[in-house]
């Protein structure tokens, strides 16, 4: 059985992800179309929230991916710090813009959903605020990578930034539980009690099935984009090295 560390070899990574990319992309497209079309066209209105409940099929998966993208970046950064594999540092760099876009989507759809339900676009609520800070960390992370010319130094510094930002990624997930205040509701989709059948505050099955499909679609989209963008970062790094060698000659 081959070791996972074989994929730290850029050539092996590109060859493997080249084979997987069409399948993962097709799966992402299929699941997203199924989940969103099902949710938008074939689910009823909620008795309290009316048709705004349809925003859940975009808001929850994008918020989930905003946090999970940072978690993936954290793991990749730790691998870089401990084992110095360039592919892992470049994978973290590749994931950052995807996470940033997911955070923007979660914030925008949350504001649009919040206005008719809470009567306000924004509230300095623990979860909303920690999400906004997470977005700023994404911007800082992307800017830091671009600002430093030496790839290894950039990878070192962005890895440290990623470790610090993980506090806010964690807070954006558990802020409601920590402070138990604010407008945003607590977890109701992947809560242990909800999955076990506790019906209070639980997402009804009629909404949950297309929601889970949409979440799987967003996850596959993230994986497909990370594959593609990591390949690009590997090639860009090789190009920079070749150009530097050319200049030396």
């Amino acid at each position: 059985m081959s070791s996972i560390w074989e994929y730290a070899n850029p050539k092996k990574f590109i060859a493997t992800t080249d084979r997987l990319l069409p399948w993962v992309s097709a799966l992402a497209l299929g699941l997203m179309v199924l989940g969103l079309v099902w949710g938008f066209f074939f689910t009823p209105d909620d008795f309290r929230q009316g048709s705004t409940v349809k925003i859940i099929y975009i808001h929850v998966p994008s918020a989930m991916m905003a946090i999970n993208a940072w978690a993936m970046m954290l793991v990749a950064s730790l691998v870089w710090i401990v084992r110095r594999h360039h592919v892992s540092a470049l994978a973290a760099r590749a994931a950052a813009p995807i996470g940033a876009v997911m955070t923007v989507i979660a914030l925008a759809t949350g504001a649009i959903w919040g206005q008719p339900m809470w009567g306000t676009w924004w509230e300095w609520d623990p979860r909303l605020t920690s999400f906004l800070i997470l977005f700023l960390f994404y911007l800082g992370y992307i800017a830091l990578w671009s600002a430093i010319e030496d790839d290894d130094t950039a990878a070192d510094l962005t890895s440290i930034l990623c470790l610090v930002g993980s506090v806010f990624a964690l807070l954006s997930r558990y802020a409601v539980n920590f402070w138990n205040q604010g407008l945003h509701q607590g977890a109701s989709v992947l809560r242990a009690g909800a999955l076990a059948g506790d019906t209070e505050e639980r997402v009804s099955n009629v909404f949950a099935t297309p929601l889970f499909i949409s979440m799987a679609g967003f996850l596959m989209l993230f994986i497909a984009l990370v594959f593609l963008r990591t390949q690009t970062e590997i090639r860009a790094r090789r190009m920079r090295a070749l150009l530097a060698r050319e200049r030396m000659q």
Binding site: S51, H59, P97, T232
Partner: protein, 59 residues
Amino acid sequence: MPDLGKYAEAVLSSYAISLGLIVALVVLSVLRARKVKAQLAEVEARGKTGGKAQEQADG
């Protein structure tokens, strides 16, 4: 099209903004991937040609 009632604007704008951002992210990622791949192929080809020319000049 389902009847979205008084919340039609909120629901439709949420979907429009989100899908617009996702499509933009995918398109930009694909375009950059193609561009970098082509640029790398060019640099590698130049390196091979340059290497051979150098060998001929030396030899």
